[in-house]
Structures are given as structure tokens and as C-alpha cells.
């Protein structure tokens, strides 16, 4: 089966985005997206786990029988997350101090199990790797977007403490929009997360509808242009 990697990629990033289309993984999303930096950290950690879990599950998909596939997937994903947790703690300790908070949350991320079930258990290893990467990046994008909106509205900063996550070279990302901002608590609490998600979803739908309308208009125009010489 030949794979259309481009379509797999755009599916993950936009058309079938974990958050904006599948509406999965909202629990860790609401928990960490109080700042864009936290969103980025969680997104990167999740991308790593999605990529490896998709590869592992796709490579032993022939062995896993239908009836017990879910517990097997859960075991494999939980083991991978634990391994990542220990390895980062031992060998990338500086990163662990920042990401350590998020790693256990990945186990409860149903998007990882979702991709194993929907994609990796049925497709080739390479395609599954691409899917894991694309889904992870799409999730990262969503986390940064929602985290950014909540951070701007809630505490009037953007990418606060980015240098802790990415190193001092990225300190330029840290912006304070309004100094001495009193803070808008609702945005930092989970309800604010749902509000932001709702508005972003509405925006995505509106944009897609507009693009679709424009595409059909253009199609009609082209059809009209093609017809007009024969009509003339």
C-alpha cells in the first residue's frame, strides 16, 4: 500500500488536528495551557511519546490480536512513558526539572491510544511514524495557541519563562504586554481554557467555510469561463 505522506501530515496538523478536530486530550490541555511555554513543553513531550508509541505499535501490529489489543496498547504506552520519564530524569536532568511535571500527564492522554488504535495498528511503520509526528506537532500547535491566548488574557505575558524550557538563548521570546496587569483569573482556570477553545474552534470553522466558499466560487467562475466561449 503506497502512502500519501503529505495527506497524513496535513491531517495531523490541521484537518484532523487532535484538539481542533478530534477533540481529544482536553484534560492535559486544560491543565497545562496557562502559559504558551507550558503548552510547548507538554506538546514536545507528547510528540516524542506519540512518535515512539506509533512506531512500536505499528511494528508489532501483526502480532496483536483484535480482542486484547486495547490492554496491550495501554501497557506499551504506559511502559514507554515510564521509560521516557526515567531516562530524562537520569540523563537530561535540567530538562526534567521543567518537563517532569508534564510527563506523567501523557499517560492519560487519550490521543496516544487513539492514534495507536486508529492508525498505527493498521498501517506501515513509516506511515505511522509520520502520523505520530504530525499529530504531535498538531497537538503542540494547539497547545501553544490556547496557551498563548490564555496567557495574554490572563496575565498579559507571552512565553513567560521560555528560557527555563529552551535555554537562555530563547529569553527574547518572553514578552510582557501590559506591565502591572492585575490578572484575569478566569482565563487561568479550566473554564477559561474551554472558552478559549470554543472561540478558536468557531474561528477555525468560519475560516474553513470561507475557504470552501471561495473554492466553489472559483470553481464556478472557471466553469463559467470555460463555458462562455462555446456559448458565444
Amino acid at each position: 500500500m503506497s502512502e500519501d505522506y503529505r495527506s497524513v501530515f496535513t491531517d495531523g496538523l490541521w484537518r484532523n488536528n487532535v484538539v481542533f478536530a478530534q477533540m481529544l486530550a482536553l484534560c492535559p490541555l486544560m491543565a497545562v495551557t496557562t502559559t504558551a511555554t507550558n503548552g510547548l513543553g507538554m506538546g514536545l513531550a507528547t510528540t516524542g511519546v506519540l512518535l515512539t508509541s506509533n512506531i512500536v505499535i505499528a511494528s508489532c501490529r501483526d502480532l496483536i490480536s483484535q480482542e486484547v489489543r486495547i490492554p496491550v496498547f495501554v501497557l506499551l504506552i504506559a511502559a514507554l512513558v515510564s521509560l521516557a520519564d526515567m531516562a530524562i530524569n537520569a540523563w537530561l536532568h535540567e530538562l526534567y526539572k521543567v518537563l517532569g511535571l508534564f510527563i506523567p500527564l501523557i499517560v492519560v492522554n487519550c490521543a496516544v491510544l487513539g492514534r495507536a488504535e486508529v492508525f498505527a495498528s493498521k498501517r506501515a511503520v513509516l506511515a505511522s511514524a509520520v502520523d505520530g509526528l504530525a499529530m504531535g506537532l498538531g497537538y503542540t500547535l494547539a497547545l501553544i495557541l490556547i496557551g498563548g491566548c490564555r496567557e495574554i488574557l490572563g496575565s498579559a505575558t507571552l512565553f513567560a519563562h521560555a528560557s527555563l524550557l529552551l535555554g537562555d538563548g530563547f529569553a527574547f521570546l518572553e514578552t510582557t504586554l501590559i506591565p502591572k496587569y492585575k490578572g484575569f483569573l478566569l482565563m487561568l482556570l479550566p473554564p477559561g481554557g474551554f472558552l478559549v477553545l470554543g472561540f478558536l474552534l468557531a474561528g477555525k470553522r468560519a475560516a474553513e467555510r470561507r475557504w470552501q466558499r471561495r473554492a466553489t466560487n472559483r470553481g464556478e467562475a472557471r466553469a463559467g469561463a470555460q463555458q462562455s466561449p462555446s456559448a458565444a
Partner: protein, 225 residues
């Protein structure tokens, strides 16, 4: 090709399911066991380094010339053993450092290191680990906010005991926007840490031998607070 295990009819059998599930469970547990074995010394080393860094933060270097990570005394703190690190200069204990824990938001424990000098004045407090909400309760970390520095120089009588609380409760310490439980718990824990020092002062300062008289005021020491 004799790939019998790939034939679908075998995969329908109950014994195959059991073997598969058991095998995967065994493999993953083995992998985690091996990884734990491989990473344990490294993780312990990293935690020791973290501990040294924390100790240096709560006890200024001028207070000691010994290796305070190794100079410890274990004190019974209400049924739980508590390891106290002693900072000595010229053999005399100048300050002690220990960890106190507090139930944070959602009942996950926060661990706070406090350094206290001979007079019972807080040299510094730092949150070592916590599971507070990122963006709300995590302002107790020094790299997110300098709130935790507001404890430096305090003692049990400064502020007065009833002022040892967040402002919302009539005390002197700030709370955070949207998070009162976390700073309230930290204030309570730091105060408990100072009370622990007052209760075990002589033992902590190595003025009595640890033993049955632990916790009793020494003749020369006692409650000078």
C-alpha cells in the same frame, strides 16, 4: 514459511490472547525494571546534586566549612524520622537545614527546604518539589516569582504568631491571584519548620547527645527564642 503465529486462526484462540497479554506485560515490566536499574544511580546522583544546590540556597556559604550533606542527625518529628543537615564552622553548629512538607492543592505533598540559624531566624526557604497548578500555584518556585524570599529573616516572633498567615487570613504574607491554598500551605509549613527547630533546638545544635533525652532543653541552651 512457518510463521504460524501470524495465521489469523491462531490469534482467535484464548490461549493466544493470554500468552500475548502476559508476554507484553512481562516484557514491559522487564524493560521498566532494567531501565530502573540502569538509571537509579544517575537519578540518585542528580538528586544529591539538587540537594546540595538547595542546601547552598537556604544556608549561606559563610555559615559552614564542613560537608553539610554528610553531617546529619535524624530527629523523630511526631513519629516520622526527619533528616537534619548541620552547617558547622569551627566545629560549632551555626545553622541547620531540613525539609518540611505541606499538603498542597489537591492533597499532593509539597517539599520545602528551610535553613535556620542558631537564634531561630530563617535563613531561607525553598520549594524543592510540588505538583501545584502550572501558572497558578507554581509561583512558590523562586524561578517563577520571588515570593518565597519573603520568608528570609523571619522567625517565630517576627511576625507575631497570629500574623503567620497569608494576607487574606489577616497575616503578612502575600497570596497569589487565583491560588490561596498553595501559599497558605507553604506559610503553615514554614511556621511548622520553625516550631520544629524551637522544639528540638539543643539536639539540632549538637548540644545534647541524641538519645532518650532528645527534645529536652539543654542546660545552657533551651528556649532562648
Amino acid at each position: 514459511m512457518n510463521r504460524w503465529f501470524l495465521k489469523p486462526e491462531y490469534r482467535q484462540r484464548l490461549s493466544y490472547h493470554v500468552a500475548l497479554l502476559g508476554g507484553v506485560a512481562l516484557l514491559t515490566s522487564a524493560a521498566i525494571g532494567v531501565a530502573d536499574h540502569l538509571t537509579r544511580p544517575d537519578i540518585a546522583q542528580r538528586q544529591l546534586e539538587d540537594l546540595q544546590i538547595t542546601l547552598q540556597q537556604v544556608v549561606p556559604a559563610t555559615y559552614y566549612d564542613n560537608d553539610l550533606v554528610r553531617d546529619t542527625v535524624t530527629v523523630d518529628d511526631g513519629g516520622r524520622p526527619l533528616v537534619v543537615y548541620r552547617a558547622r564552622r569551627g566545629g560549632q553548629v551555626q545553622a541547620v537545614c531540613y525539609q518540611v512538607s505541606a499538603p498542597g492543592y489537591g492533597n499532593t505533598a509539597m517539599v520545602i527546604a528551610v535553613g535556620v540559624d542558631r537564634a531561630g531566624t530563617l535563613l531561607g526557604a525553598r520549594v524543592i518539589s510540588h505538583n501545584e497548578t502550572p501558572g497558578l500555584g507554581d509561583k512558590i518556585e523562586l524561578n517563577k516569582s520571588d515570593w518565597i524570599l519573603s520568608f528570609t529573616g523571619r522567625s517565630l516572633n517576627d511576625p507575631q504568631p497570629d500574623q503567620w498567615a497569608v494576607k487574606k487570613d489577616g497575616g503578612v504574607f502575600d497570596q497569589f491571584t487565583g491560588a490561596t491554598i498553595t501559599p497558605r500551605a507553604v506559610v503553615k509549613a514554614v511556621k511548622a519548620g520553625l516550631e520544629f527547630f524551637a522544639a528540638h533546638r539543643a539536639l539540632l545544635l549538637d548540644e545534647v547527645a541524641p538519645g532518650p533525652i532528645a527534645g529536652q532543653p539543654a542546660p545552657d541552651g533551651g528556649n532562648r527564642l
